[in-house]
């Protein structure tokens, strides 16, 4: 088991290095920070643009490989460089990372747990009203892009607030800046802000996991080992929970890991729409501003997150499935 974990960890490290390298090269070659200074009135002399870009390690006259090695030597020491407006990328990350992680963790946990439960229930009650209703709903949610769900939720909340005459659900920001309370009331204020972005991430997840879990569960329901479990005298419920669920959940762990990539994409939309200063929103402004170092930092963040969850999924799979451990 330890040997297996060790091997997976090496694979994980190698992929992080490759992925972030690829991300850096793409960002450095596609984005053009020079264009931000050109065409200004009065024009900035080329030499001062050059010296400024060189100081930021974003000068496109320096060979890209050289820039990459400058970047990597910083990253190895834990320094991710400076943003285009000369702030430290590290401090920017430390400000933003928890905003995104909170959104992603709560959203993905809600999405997967509720999704798995509804999937299992749908499978057990195949073709009954509950199953039909949920299938259609999840089809619709899977066909609607994250940004459309987020926008509709936002409009719905604004309407609701108008009807009520006071703000029950906030649609912008993570907390109210003028808010002065502490303790419990500040938690409530945070939850009022959290509810919509988390929902827009979680709804897609619920739809996805419930479809998936329903199919996996249907396979298990007609499998031989479940029939054996019934035959040796277990009730349907016991057989389902003891022997069915474990097998049906297994393939989901891998999916859970790779869904983090999709979640980060979703976070970029929800953070932009709800005005959260998270990693996703940062990525979009960084690409628009041709900020190479910030873009590379977000790509590094997302590859670490995806691979870390993949690594954890491997360990969980190995713990649940003896066949993997022995390989």
């Amino acid at each position: 088991m330890l040997n297996y974990i060790y091997k997976r960890f090496l694979n994980f490290l190698l992929l992080v290095v490759l992925a972030s390298t690829m991300g850096y090269f793409l960002a450095a070659m596609a984005l053009n920070p020079r264009s931000n200074y050109e065409g200004r009135n009065p024009p900035i002399p080329a030499s001062s643009i050059d010296s400024k870009l060189t100081a930021l390690n974003m000068n496109n006259k320096t060979p890209v490989v050289e820039r990459y090695f400058t970047w990597v030597s910083g990253v190895v020491k834990g320094d991710l460089g400076t943003t285009l407006n000369e702030k430290s990328v590290n401090s920017e990350i430390s400000r933003r990372i928890w905003v995104s992680l909170r959104l992603l963790l709560i959203g993905s946990i809600l999405g997967s747990v509720i999704g798995v439960i509804t999937g299992v229930v749908s499978a057990v009650r195949q073709y009954k009203p509950f199953d039909r209703y949920f299938s259609i709903t999840s089809y619709i949610f899977l066909s609607a892009p994250v940004f459309l769900i987020a926008l509709l939720l936002k409009f719905g909340a604004i309407n609701l607030n108008d009807r009520l005459g006071y703000t029950l659900i906030y649609t912008v920001g993570e907390y109210s800046p003028e808010f002065q309370g502490a303790g419990f009331s500040s938690i409530i204020n945070r939850v009022q802000h959290l509810i919509l972005p988390t929902l827009s991430i979680a709804l897609g997840g619920i739809a996805f996991y419930s479809r998936y879990q329903r199919n996996a569960m249907l396979d298990v329901l007609s499998s031989d080992h479940l029939r054996t479990a019934r035959a040796k005298g277990l009730t349907k419920r016991q057989a389902l929970f003891k022997h069915g669920l474990r097998v049906a959940i297994l393939p989901l762990t891998t999916f859970f890991a790779y869904s983090f990539g999709l979640l980060i994409t979703g976070a970029a939309f929800t953070e932009t729409i709800f005005g959260w200063n998270g990693m996703g929103q940062w990525f979009i402004t960084a690409v628009q501003a041709n900020d190479v170092n910030s873009t590379a930092a977000v790509i590094l963040f997302s590859s670490v997150l995806v691979l870390l969850s993949g690594f954890l999924a491997d360990i969980v799979t190995a713990a649940l499935d003896p066949r993997v451990r022995l390989r």
Binding site: A27, P145, F269, V287
Partner: protein, 290 residues
């Protein structure tokens, strides 16, 4: 003696598909969307790039079926134009990416060994980085140029999962007698892959391509929504929704038609994809083992 009704595989598949109500609904709806997108503009007298200064921000009326925008554009014509773009991009990318997936997956699975390992490494690497992030970063490369570059990028980052499925099937097909016979007769690898392997995974490819159409439309509209996709003055459903959001509460017609068309299209595509899967392979689990 009663006559025995003989059905070819194609007829069987068609019959199973036609029995699936949701799939037939999806197909009818998708055909309707196509007709609407490509014939609709001829029914209306307004062009998508024409501005009508007499009607600024008007609600739907007999003159402008879906209303008008802030600068007097006809929302019906704009939505049709956006729908055309999204449908064409969805189709093109689905064909390209399924093609790449078939070739990479079939070769990797058939050849095995080091080539297989190397190809699956590339697949793993591309799966780690969300395609959305990569395409958004590369968006300056096609800004102001043809949208076909955008199509190529969408295809280049959308084939990995299908290729894994194809690889798995190719690995088991490799050991089948008809492939072995071909190999021992000295048929070159390329011919085996293209003439024997890929046709035998055709059903999977058709299903994957159909579902890809929906997935592509979702990512294309997402990128266009943020300004990384189809560039103005051209429109896509995503950029239309983005333009409509700021005033959507007071002027809902600015974005609800584009949003509705988008959801309906993707919904019908996924109904068709699932219907095809059930029709090709009625006994199989739907996607749980992919």
């Amino acid at each position: 003696m009663t006559e025995v009704l003989r059905l070819t595989r194609g007829q069987l598949v068609r019959r199973r598909f036609m029995r699936n109500k949701l799939a037939v609904f999806g197909l009818c709806n998708l055909v309707f969307m196509f007709l609407l997108a490509f014939l609709g503009p001829y029914l209306s007298k307004h062009k998508w790039d024409e501005l009508d200064f007499m009607y600024l921000l008007q609600p739907p009326s007999r003159e402008h079926w879906f209303g008008t925008t802030q600068i007097g554009g006809d929302v019906f014509a704009l939505t049709m134009r956006g729908l055309q773009k999204s449908l064409i991009i969805g189709l093109l990318v689905a064909i390209f990416s399924t093609g790449i997936a078939a070739i990479v997956g079939a070769f990797a699975g058939y050849l095995g060994g080091k080539i297989d390992k190397a190809m699956m490494w590339v697949v793993d690497l591309l799966l780690v980085l969300p395609a959305f992030l990569l395409i958004a970063v590369m968006s300056p490369l096609y800004r102001g140029k043809t949208w076909l570059i955008f199509v190529v990028l969408l295809a280049a980052f959308g084939w990995m999962i299908t290729s894994r499925i194809v690889r798995g099937m190719a690995m088991s097909l490799r050991e089948r007698d008809f492939i072995r016979a071909a190999r021992y007769m000295g048929v070159p690898t390329r011919t085996i892959v293209f003439r024997h392997l890929i046709p035998n995974v055709a059903s999977i490819l058709i299903i994957a391509a159909t579902l890809d159409v929906g997935g592509t439309i979702l990512s294309e509209t997402g990128l266009s929504y943020l300004g990384f996709g189809i560039q103005p003055p051209d429109v896509s459903l995503g950029s239309l929704i983005a333009d409509g959001t700021n005033s959507a509460l007071t002027y809902p017609w600015l974005f609800c038609f584009a949003g509705g068309a988008l959801v309906l299209t993707v919904l019908s595509v996924s109904f068709i994809g699932d219907g095809l899967r059930d029709a090709f392979d009625p006994g199989a689990s739907t996607g749980a083992n992919s």
